[in-house]
Symmetry: C2
Subunit: 653 residues, 2 copies
């Protein structure tokens, strides 16, 4: 009897369950399953099944316009809560809108426009009950730096504004397409760690930019990196205006104080929410009363009364600028999407409801497409405003409608109020908002828990602060992807040992009391076997075997006979991986050893079978558990030894 017969006998008696090759599945069925899990993971079509056509239509409408679903159940209680929340966020939206528009080098009125139309669209189409729509600092700066590189906002303001609309249009188209094509998972590739670093970096850069307003400087660098800005600031010390600086620092102090107070007593969140508008009104009053605008304090100036003019005809769809607008649109579109989705999901979790990523993307996209045609620039659901909305007790998206109506009233009647608002107040508001984005506590948490995440975070931060926003973005995406690729390219492999008094086999590094079995080397592979790691794995496994044989040789133990691969953690294998196993098998056979597999998954078994690898090593040498594999190896070793002893004894007789 040869080894193959022994193991066949063992397997028949000792192993109640065997690893079988799964029945061949029709290719299209498994393709359908894969596509469904990739593109429709939330099974959004479940409720459409087995419904009459009319019901399907209603459900379809409800899918795209969630307002139809919740509006009938809207109550007076809800309205009261939403009214308060809406007015609170409007008081934040007005100064922030103006400030961020200035940051983007756009006319301040655009910031107010952008808080009027998009929230209305979102209220109809969005599925978050807490998201408050508005512009964000990060993207405002990004628009200023990307578009500003090609078109000068002061020399050619009309073209610049039109390019901002076009960028918004393409960002919207891109967002809506991602949603319609069910590609929402692309946003998941922007990791939380890189967002922390990226946001922190942008906030730092934006604060540095505000030195212009705070110090009352006329000339300022167009670059955003730390070194250029500091050089620009320090080379103009004689131009610093102390009046402006004092005013700015006072307002900043006031704003920080209100935030500190609100944080300690969450009930008074509205103090912090109202502070920016209070600052604007106080600042404007001060300027109006002292005529400071005539003494060199820069003010916003005249704002046109009236609601959003149409801007559909302003979109720049011609050659030299089209590419710029599309590129900027895609980049900014992804960033605001990542922020909006993260914010929506986080608050949905607090209230325990669910957000469909793809549906949200369609809502964001539509909001920005319509926005771009009504003089708005890029909007999303910023964290700060949404948090205020949530704290103010909003119940539904009606708070966005209330905010929009408040903005409409402002646009129609109150714009003259802002004529005297000093720019330095806007700078203080921006700095105050940005300081909240520098999340050093999150960075410390990353440092403590996961060094690689911390490196990704710092890479993004350093890239943004010392080079440019785009470089920071590229660095962060590259580091994130690198991590995923490195995981696949350099999977971990472990030696498994037997835990004393048990049938359990575990990693000997993690469980130092696990003991290896004489004559058997058990290895675990911790990743799918793909082209990217098959060369590495072949070399690593043969190195494990060499090291084990060296160790055995020096310690004088029983020599090695079996190499067991625990495939439990191998999720999948491709043709390169199968070739690797075939080569490994040859190599192991060449050393006079035998390769044994334990616990391969369904997908792996299917492919090993198709490629005839199972025939190659023998179906009997594939076991359900490591324990059974080790048992079989020991059985064969002992039986073989016994029969050898017997035949030797026989020969001697």
């Amino acid at each position: 009897m040869g080894n193959a017969d022994y193991v066949h006998a063992f397997a028949g008696v000792e192993c109640a369950h065997r690893v079988t090759v799964p029945p061949p599945q029709p290719f299209f069925k498994s393709l359908k399953y894969t596509l469904k899990e990739t593109f429709f993971p939330g099974d959004p079509l479940k409720q459409f099944k087995n419904q009459p056509l009319s019901r399907k239509l209603v459900l379809g409408l409800q899918y795209f316009l969630p307002i139809i679903q919740w509006a009938p159940r809207y109550t007076f209680q809800f309205l009261k809560a939403d009214l308060i929340a809406g007015i609170t966020i409007a008081s934040l939206a007005i100064p922030q809108g103006i400030s961020y528009a200035k940051l983007a080098n756009l006319p301040p009125i655009l910031g107010l426009y952008s808080s009027f139309v998009p929230p209305l669209i979102y209220a109809v189409m969005g599925s978050s009950r807490d998201l408050a729509v508005g512009t964000v600092g990060v993207v405002s700066l990004l628009i200023a730096s990307t578009l500003g590189n090609e078109v000068n906002a002061t020399e050619n303001p009309k073209l610049y504004v039109n390019l901002a609309f076009t960028t918004t249009f393409f960002a919207g188209v891109f967002q809506a397409s991602l949603g319609l094509l069910r590609l929402g998972f692309i946003v998941d590739f922007v990791s939380h760690a890189t967002i922390v670093g990226f946001m922190g970096g942008v906030a730092t850069v934006v604060c540095l930019q505000q030195l212009k307003g705070i110090l009352g400087l006329d000339h300022f660098t167009h670059a955003t990196d730390l070194i250029s800005v500091m050089r620009s600031v320090l080379s103009q010390t004689h131009q610093w205006r102390w009046e402006s600086a004092v005013l700015g620092i006072c307002f900043l102090f006031f704003l920080l104080l209100t935030r500190y107070f609100s944080k300690r007593r969450p009930k008074f969140f509205w103090i912090s929410a109202m502070a920016p508008l209070t600052s604007v009104i106080l600042g404007s009053l001060l300027v109006y009363l002292t005529n400071a605008e005539k003494h060199g304090v820069q003010v916003i100036g005249h704002l046109k009364k009236g609601i959003n003019p149409l801007s559909f005809g302003d979109l720049v769809l011609v050659a030299p600028y089209l590419k710029l607008a599309i590129r900027t649109g895609i980049i900014t579109g992804v960033i605001v999407l990542a922020e909006g989705m993260a914010v929506g999901r986080r608050f949905a979790m607090f209230k325990n409801y669910h957000i469909d990523a793809d549906k949200e993307m369609i809502a964001f996209g539509t909001m920005n497409i319509i926005g771009s045609c009504t003089s708005c620039y890029l909007t999303t659901g910023p964290f700060s405003r949404t948090a205020v909305n949530f704290n103010a007790g909003c119940q539904t998206a009606v708070s966005n409608i209330v905010m929009a109506l408040a903005l409409m009233v402002t646009l129609l009647f109150l714009t003259p109020v802002f004529q005297y608002t000093p720019l330095v107040v806007l700078s203080s508001i921006i700095i105050h908002a940005m300081l909240g984005l520098i999340d050093y506590e999150a960075a410390i948490h990353l440092w403590n828990v996961d060094m690689f995440d911390f490196i990704a975070c710092m890479g993004a931060y350093v890239g943004v602060v010392f080079f440019s926003v785009e470089i920071g973005l590229v660095i962060s995406v590259a580091i994130s992807l690198l991590r995923l690729l490195l995981f696949v390219a350099r999977p971990r492999t472990f030696i498994l040992g037997n835990l004393p008094n048990s049938t359990i086999f575990r990693n000997v590094q993690q469980y130092p009391n696990a003991r290896s079995v004489a004559g058997v080397l058990v290895l675990e592979i911790d990743a799918p076997i793909y082209f990217a790691n098959s060369n590495y794995l072949r070399e690593r496994i043969s190195r494990w075997i060499e090291e084990e044989e060296d160790r055995i040789r020096s310690s004088g133990e029983c020599s090695l006979h079996y190499v067991i691969l625990d495939m439990g953690a191998v999720g999948n294998i491709d043709t390169s991986g199968i070739s690797m196993l075939e080569e490994l098998n040859k190599l192991i056979c060449g050393r006079g050893l035998k390769l044994v597999l334990a616990n391969p998954g369904a997908e792996v078994m299917k492919k090993l079978n198709k490629s005839k690898f199972i025939e190659n090593i023998g179906q009997d040498w594939i076991f359900l558990t490591v324990r059974e594999a080790v048992g079989a190896c020991q059985f064969v070793l002992q039986t073989y030894k016994a029969s050898k002893d017997e035949s030797e004894a026989y020969n001697q007789v």
Copy 2:
């Protein structure tokens, strides 16, 4: 007693081994291990350890110049074998060199030069015993199409040739840097499947290009795609020269016949190896005797006698072309590296020796850098020539030296022979070589075993044939990376069930007889939990729970109490993944269930501990095996039920 106490009691009694948090490892120690596994996986410095300095120097020299290692052991037997192999590959190198140089739109003599210097360098530095160095068709075409796009080879031949040298130079620099920086694993990201498709596509395109030579056309499109070429060919039917076509088809038939013969009788491999040179000599004789060159049969023409002139001064390092040369150098450098490494590894496996990827890269790089300074263009170890070398029984890299010497003799004395070689013979040689690269059997194998690999392969093929070589390359790399990213972005999750009469838990889809345990849902996650999949996993797991509760509700079984996550296949987790687990835990608690973990690995435990997640769910709820986890859940459920029954009975009394 609460549930926590019950499980604590159970764990103390029933679980001999617990999952412990590994002792904190110094950050730099684990960083060092990670870096070592990433960049020095083969542990090339092992033999340097504990050696005196002089020995270290010798070892270092041997590392960079392996010839020092094997030359002292070189025997007369080896020389005899290498002589035969060297002369055989030289007879292949001469016609192939001329043909490929024509394909690259370079002067034919460059093909001969490129088989003289680089093989000498490789013989000294390379670690493969079988690799035969020379130019390859794929890269020749790529150079023609990439450089040809910017500089016309017929209008500005000098600049074009110099750019080819510069490209070779940068390819060499890039290859050597990859080797020195230990980044050899980058080449592993080019998967075997995409190489099959890419090579097949290029071979198809090259064959189509040869229609020019075969049909004797003067004008021909510069595009390489199928449609442009066919249009160009079919629009000139009146220009077709039947003499040329007949000659070409005869030679092609002759070449294919010899290959067929050699394949059936491997001993006569040299017939196929000698066939191209025979064709060249026969064709030249034919032209010389019939004066056909004066009757419109295109011939190579005069070739300069003498060995390689220096070309160091010809490198174009100035602005408008530098970028082009660097870009082309990097692309072609990676392609030839991927081919050379794959070929070297495959033949090393036949003879059971090992090739150090990084060392090979340094050898390839140096060979191309020196080549670019001695009038050679890009060389590597082509499969066809290496296979002939192997079949001819080569023993060491000395066969390369023999080939180089044969080429030297040819360059010094025999170039006039090729003056009358008709171009149509070269076309036949190229087509013959390229037909061998269209590996349809490999494509069928991919179709049978792994559909995704087949798609990657066909994507590369279609991209090359219908668009351009570059587009094919981008498509193939994109599909390969997409597969890796999709694996991480959409990991599989399974429900586990208990196999009857055992304590084993396995995927119920793979083992349909596995039974679920009442009140407990066991899920396995099949991939690391990273930012790219944490959103998906949260939603997928909560969907599993919902589906399970629906099922239980409709079947009227005992309601769900525990969700056990089998973390055995979770190789790693990042901070986004930990947040996901925290959110999932909240969500599960919110449904009145309890989250239990089974078998988390060392890396995962470390991070869960640092982030306080273990405190959060309770150390007692983490088990070494699924069986123990299920056992504990059942124990608590029963004890709780018993104590409830008891207290009910007590109350009734």
